[in-house]
Amino acid sequence: MAEVRLEPGPLEPDRALREFLDGANGEGAVVSFVGIARPASRDGVAVTGLYLDHYPGMTEASLATIAADSEARFGGTRAMVVHRYGQVNAGEAIVFVAAASKHRRSAFEAADYMMDRLKTEAAFWKREHRIDGAAWIEPTEQDRADTQRWSEACPE
């Protein structure tokens, strides 16, 4: 059963990883990923932070679906997703994803799969605070293409 959490405060990846490792169930591989709020926008303008609006209930469900799908797709994989909401300053961790599998390939792929889907399907609305003003942003074409590649072939 995947562990999924939404957190308003600082996300401490080292603690999240420790917690995930403590839940070990005989897996031989653990892959973790930390996404950090970037200090610049896509077009290079300085960004002080982000505001992530969320829909209580629906947002958690969107994260849980993605984590559960990765566990089902990469058999024997255990998944964890921790995501920030609200104000996130540039340089702070915004998302933590971990996957544990019997062997490394599945763990790498499960983490990659979860991140690609989170980037397009997680129920968040993101406002970027740029030094020249605030703007609501949407997934890029690249984000959509990254998610799409998992529809093309099933590894197992």
Binding site: M58, H83, L118, T120, A122, F124, R127, W136, E138
Partner: protein
Amino acid sequence: MPIHWCLESRLRILLFGSLGEQIGREIDADLPAEGCSVASLRMLLAERDPAFAPLARASARACVDQAIVREDYVIRPGQEVAFVPPLSGG
């Protein structure tokens, strides 16, 4: 005996992202007892207040009980209704 008094119920509509910022986090509407389609609700709101015009746009997706629904979905009293802009992802 009046037959109108229980014909409408108060519907609370939640708004997120840019819609919440532009219009407010929450608005109310009167919902007929027999319900109302998403498409009709959009028209009703846009006619009531020009500020609600963004809710009539196709990019504002309607959610009922936290799931995205189609335009012909009939909203019933007591359901949770929201309009959301396109997801920005995590």
